[in-house]
């Protein structure tokens, strides 16, 4: 039987084996150990060819499969009342499959969202005044972990916190028009209030629109330098 494995990243050897079984529509309770071993080994060879680093778990599993394969040939030949050498692997795969499927259930559940929204805790203070005499930058540094934590959370977390709706293009056009009318000329950077990518994009789009309607003219000295915006005369 032919096989076709794209070099996708697997979570581990069990993930790879399970995928091979699903792709080849093999009955998990009656795995052809030599077929699966061959496919597993050729996947690893592909990885080697592409200079990908092979995790030790994959190598260990490969040697286990080879060992199982030889034991299984012996087992078939003698047909004595020994335990089928495949049994342990089959059991592990079935357990793994159940959890993998269950994780899909949780994934679906998470994507749906619970539809309810929460508040932040209220704050309570006793004191009112800050002592401004003995302040140093070192004291601020103590709080940097909370800033860094925020970064991590953003990298890998749930949409549990909701933020206020972002700017519409129409609103931003009005805002840029207002600033230009008031100040006559200003730079693109002066229009941006946050590091928010969306704000930058929407602001840029507003400029394009205002150029089209001939309300403003822009000027840029060099690539990537700040854009100067002037009211069209």
């Amino acid at each position: 039987m032919g096989y076709n494995i794209s070099l996708k990243a697997y979570e581990g050897p069990l993930d790879l084996l399970y995928d091979l079984i699903v792709k080849n529509k093999i009955d998990i309770y009656d795995i052809s150990i030599s077929q699966i071993t061959d496919q597993y080994i050729s996947y690893m060879k592909e990885m080697e060819k592409m200079d990908l680093e092979i995790a030790s778990e994959f190598v260990i599993m490969a040697s286990k499969l080879l060992e199982m394969k030889s034991k299984y040939l012996l087992f078939k030949k003698t047909e004595e009342d020994e335990i089928d050498p495949r049994e342990e692997l089959i059991e592990r795969l079935i357990v793994y499959k159940k959890f993998k499927n269950a994780s899909q259930f949780l994934r679906n559940r998470q994507d749906e969202g619970s539809g309810v929204f929460f508040r932040k805790r209220e704050e309570f203070f006793q004191e009112e005044k800050i002592d401004l005499t003995n302040l140093s930058v070192d004291m601020l540094i103590n709080f940097l972990p909370s800033l860094l934590k925020e970064k991590q959370v953003k990298d890998d977390t749930f949409p549990r916190i909701y933020k206020v709706q972002t700017i519409s293009l129409e609103d931003q056009i009005n805002y840029v028009r207002f600033r230009i009318n008031k100040e006559g000329k200003l730079s693109f950077k002066e229009l941006i209030k946050s590091e928010d990518k969306e704000e930058i994009i929407v602001t840029f789009l507003s400029l394009l629109e205002l150029i089209k309607t001939k309300e403003i003219v822009i000027n840029q000295d060099t690539f990537f330098s700040d854009i100067l915006i002037k009211r069209a005369e």
Binding site: G12, R92, K97, Q104, R109, Q110, D156, R160, V164
Partner: protein, 178 residues
């Protein structure tokens, strides 16, 4: 304290505390003159008042703890006002690890690794950082390995009242569709 006042004190506590809180903790704030049973009764009364009248605020019960939230029926409006941040879901590795902990808790890292066939250190630390799992003591074995269990935050995020609300693992013999 009269019953109606207890109810309103609890209402202000649930509102201000914002996170899940147990009847026991609420009672310790109100004082010795009432017992935990009275608190539970008052909360349940409050809950059904909010619930029956389809009020904008609801009281969630998660594993014996209570927390105020908005009514799901009005999701479309609240959502319009608070736009969700970019959806960032857990990676497959982290999600699989979380699933195993949810079903097998309390469980050690080594046991999880046996099931998944790979190292899970990274996934476990991500889950701890995001408050989805926590340590639950240590196993009395060589190395005293840490046991992990899921948190109330886990239940909240996945919309479960209790950990028992998870479907039986045996029902996952067949693959479910995304």
């Amino acid at each position: 304290m009269e019953n109606i006042k207890i109810k309103h004190v609890i209402e202000s506590i649930l509102f201000a505390f914002a996170d899940p809180i147990s009847a026991k903790d609420i009672r310790s704030v109100i004082g010795e003159e009432i017992n935990v049973k009275d608190v539970v009764e008052a909360i349940e009364e409050l809950r059904s008042e909010y619930n029956e009248n389809k009020r904008g605020i609801q009281i969630l019960k998660i594993e014996e703890k209570y927390q105020m939230c908005t009514n799901k029926d009005y999701e479309e409006y609240v959502k319009k006002m608070l736009e969700p941040k970019k959806k960032k879901s857990l990676t497959q590795a982290t999600l699989e690890t979380l699933t195993i902990i949810a079903y097998k808790q309390p469980i050690t890292k080594v046991e999880i690794e046996e099931i998944r066939g790979v190292k899970c250190d990274k996934a476990i630390s991500t889950l701890v950082e995001n408050d989805l799992i926590k340590e639950a003591g240590r196993l009395n074995k060589i190395g005293k390995p840490i046991l992990y269990k899921t948190t109330d935050e886990f239940l909240k995020v996945f919309g479960l009242d209790t950990i028992k609300a998870l479907p039986d693992i045996e029902t996952f013999e067949e693959k479910i569709e995304a």
